[in-house]
Point group: C2
């Protein structure tokens, strides 16, 4: 353990007058690799390219333009845009002024987007021409916004909108000097703001610091091994969680950047084509995007060679068939990474086997291990704790909630005083339950709210569901913890059988016994026609628990 109290030693001769901020990153790249390319998708669906050097001049112009509009330290500026060249420029221009870049999730309902804009006190919003309909729905809800800046290749006269006080991004830039004296932004200042989209309550504000972004960037470059020989394509939306830090990591490594603009999950062929054309070696995304990309690759007569490519996959655990499919067809390595909006997001990365395991594990064991969350990234301090907040050993068996702290891990939510249940001893409570084995690999087993707390021990609901579904007659299964007067909670199994008939409890226990202790077995099994699910298809355990909350009440 390392204390939470800071101990001062002797003064050093190397101070902190040089702050860790993103301006130093882009400036260094523009000075040292001015010729490096940034390739971007144009409004007509074609591709164009410019250089770090040219981009930096536009970044200076954009910062000068925003400053002329009155944007200064602490002001919040929102962005409604795809993964575009202008979005990339704003990633540096806004924080470079010590202002905060508000990341506006295009998928949010207008009320939620209004709440976020209002809560962050955003004063200006930049909007891509194609997203004007969202801005127009939002405008009436956010009267404090001073004005809108439309980003388009067309002249302002050709833009029709109901927005008022509208500026034209390109016109603003043209009027500005290509040079700026940047402020030395204090490193604990907010760089960007992103709001969580939890299922309960209002979105919660996460204000990333320059310091956290800077250190996250270095960690990411180190763990991926990025250099100027790489080409990074940003697939993850730039409007959420700063695109998982890949734009900054690419610039810091002085890699070539590919910005695919707007693409839709229904047709990801544009991403695969760009990977081939621009020889992409690093990209980030979720299985929901990589899966249709793989389908498209399957349809190609000539399979592309992506053997240098590292595809960072987040959001959910990638399936074995996805990882193997990419590897077998193209040589690309799907790398499972774990994190959350609160963690910037990098927490673990599963780059594959450690040297010490390479000659020990079979091919099947290797692939299975590649599915788990992987090794903690250096710079993130971590604990696994049980329900009483006590540390559990890293033995690959003991489950605990993952606690995290570090420069890019949240320390408090923005303007939220009652967030105490999300923090413990200075660590952020991830709400994820898992194990860490003796090799250091994290494997998540459940969400804390879904884990069943029985007699002081934890039972993974997901493990039990997977075991139950293995029974030939069980088609669907949910296991939830229901309040119990003696044991705190006891597992209840909700099952859907093939033919709608019930199974005796003994037979259910038989299928579980190989993997569960006797005290873990459910005392109750209920048989339903279907299980309640949320709009995105996840088991709705909240509603299940509410429905059956009184089962054990009178025992």
């Amino acid at each position: 353990m390392q204390s939470t109290y800071i101990t001062k030693g002797r003064p050093s001769t190397h101070g902190d007058s040089y702050q860790l901020n993103t301006t130093t990153m882009i400036r260094h790249a523009a000075r040292t690799y001015p010729e490096q390319e940034i390739v971007y998708r144009t409004a007509d669906g074609g591709w164009d390219r410019y250089t770090y050097g040219e981009s930096y001049l536009r970044i200076c112009q954009a910062a000068n333009a925003l400053r002329r509009l009155g944007v200064g330290p602490g002001d919040v500026v929102g962005i409604l845009d795809w993964n575009s060249r202008r979005h990339f420029e704003l990633y540096w221009a806004i924080p470079g002024l010590a202002a905060v870049m508000l990341q506006m999730n295009l998928r949010l309902a207008p009320e939620d987007l209004g709440y976020v804009t209002d809560h962050s006190e955003a004063s200006w919003i930049l909007v891509d021409e194609t997203l004007l309909p969202i801005a127009e729905k939002l405008a009436p809800l956010v009267p404090q916004v001073k004005g809108w800046i439309v980003m388009t290749d067309r002249p302002l006269s050709q833009i029709s909108t109901t927005l008022t006080n509208v500026h034209h991004f390109e016109d603003l830039l043209r009027a500005e000097d290509k040079h700026i004296d940047w402020p030395m932004v204090d490193e604990t200042s907010a760089y960007s703001a992103c709001y969580t989209t939890g299922t309960t309550g209002r979105p919660k504000g996460i204000y990333y610091s320059h310091r956290g972004i800077y250190l996250h960037t270095l960690a990411m470059d180190s763990v991926i091994g990025m250099s100027s020989d790489d080409t990074a394509m940003l697939i993850t939306p730039m409007f959420h969680g700063q695109c998982w830090g890949l734009p900054q990591a690419a610039v810091q490594a002085m890699a070539k950047v590919v910005l695919p603009g707007r693409y839709v999950a229904e047709d990801t062929s544009v991403l695969v084509d760009a990977m081939i054309e621009e020889k992409v070696t690093v990209a980030n995304g979720a299985p929901a995007i990589f899966t249709p990309m793989l389908e498209y690759i399957r349809s190609l007569d000539n399979k592309p060679d992506f053997s240098r490519a590292r595809l960072l996959s987040g959001a959910t655990e990638p399936s074995l068939s996805l990882m193997r499919g990419f590897y077998d067809l193209t040589g690309a390595d799907i790398i499972h990474a774990y994190g959350a909006t609160e963690t910037t997001p990098l927490v673990t990365v599963n780059k594959g086997l450690k040297p010490s395991l390479r000659e020990v594990l079979s091919d099947e064991q290797t692939w299975n291990r590649k599915r788990c969350q992987g090794l903690m990234v250096s710079g993130v301090d971590f604990r696994l704790v049980d329900g009483a907040g006590k540390d559990v050993p890293f033995d690959g068996i003991s489950q605990g909630e993952v606690l995290l702290r570090g420069p890019w891990i949240i320390e408090k939510y923005h303007k939220l005083d009652d967030d105490g249940d999300r923090f413990l001893d200075g660590y952020w409570r991830s709400g994820d339950v898992g194990t860490i084995d003796q090799h250091g690999y994290l494997k998540l087993t459940d969400r804390l709210k879904d884990v069943i707390k029985s007699g002081g021990e934890w039972i993974s609901s997901i493990d039990m569901e997977n075991a139950l579904i293995a029974h030939p007659r069980i088609r669907d299964a949910a296991v939830v913890g229901i309040e119990h007067p003696k044991w705190q909670e006891r597992p209840v199994a909700l099952l859907v059988t093939d033919d709608g008939t019930e199974l005796p409890l003994d037979e259910i226990h038989e299928v579980l016994k190989p993997n569960f202790a006797k005290w873990q077995l459910p005392d109750t099994a209920l048989f339903l026609e279907t299980l309640p699910r949320t709009s995105v298809g996840k088991l709705d355990k909240k509603s299940i628990r509410a429905t059956y909350k009184d089962i054990y009440k009178d025992i």
Copy 2:
């Protein structure tokens, strides 16, 4: 430009309660890669090995032992040791207590070592058994030292020494717990102290910060591309400039570490043999060490395969024959890196050609470019300024003094108030003069004190010397700037000819004209039998300038 004034923005939700200190690095490595190996040379010249996990337990014990002796935050603890396992342990144990590790250069004269020990107020000194004679000479000069800790595999009873208050490192460790609650060391606290060994005046103290070391480490890993697949051998002495940051870079990357203990420049075969045996992929050193290593390799019947090896070469510019020799015989890449004790030291690294130059340059141009200092490392801000402190362009022609700032660049010397001439606008003045070309490559041309300042322009003395030596009859040449009433300084050439006869000035001008402007040509040439040189063979320009200072006085 980026201001020197710090501008605060909006508060972030990611603070700085988690400090950048070296404890988090070693702790993470021990938790995530406990099985990774550290290979070390034993007192009898053999080799042994243990793991990060085992090393960490000894580090905890060492910290507990020092704490029990009264070492706490701000205290200074000196080390007299080779590149040993125990030295490696102390690299983490001492700074982990918020104490300062004093790096004691074994090559210093006892008086200088005494001055350094006294100036830093060191309270304890750890000394390897083989270095007791140095400690015994030092002891009478440093009465404030509370005690000495001898590091040896033998029992204390077998050690004969005139030192008083002597402890035994291994005995101390054995008595301690293998667990410690580390303080959270404030990141601006001093991590280690190293004193410059300038030719003029007393040694000057450089107190590195945890923050600077941490960020230097990340930069180094990023630029070398280090990972757990690497094996790093520490050739540079660990008693100076924290071994150029390689111990920390190796741990942060969780690479295997090789500690060659004591080796002598006269027989570097042990280093080559260890490279072969342990499959070393990264090492650091100076041409003075790499040259005899190459000679030994030439003598081997079977040339080793070092094709994965990156050999970081500092101190002086490596010769073309050294770089080509290593590459042709073993495949190893000698990487020229530039820095100073004040800069931790990484400033530039010449990893080879940027992607944009690879297909443009010929083989000869490529090798020539590999000799220069290379590209600035991200995290270091730099300027080139002329004699008036005005920035000169990065055109590959304009010369300027290299100014540096950044988290691992010195901001002031320890307890030295009159160091104003070493700093300009918050930048450290390196005293090195060079050019930066449009591709970002730094090429040093001279030391500022040796550059000839004539009529507001600079003339590189080294360039002119190299041009003069190309004349078939000139065997040795020195060019110095001598004070001139009209031109500030004018170049004077001191020459040694093959046969001792003089050359007409016209002929000297002829050989210079292809590379120098007319106003740059020396007005005076003097012929000597030999040129004055320092004890290490460098031209003694200070004495030359003193001898001829009045040449132009009465013009």
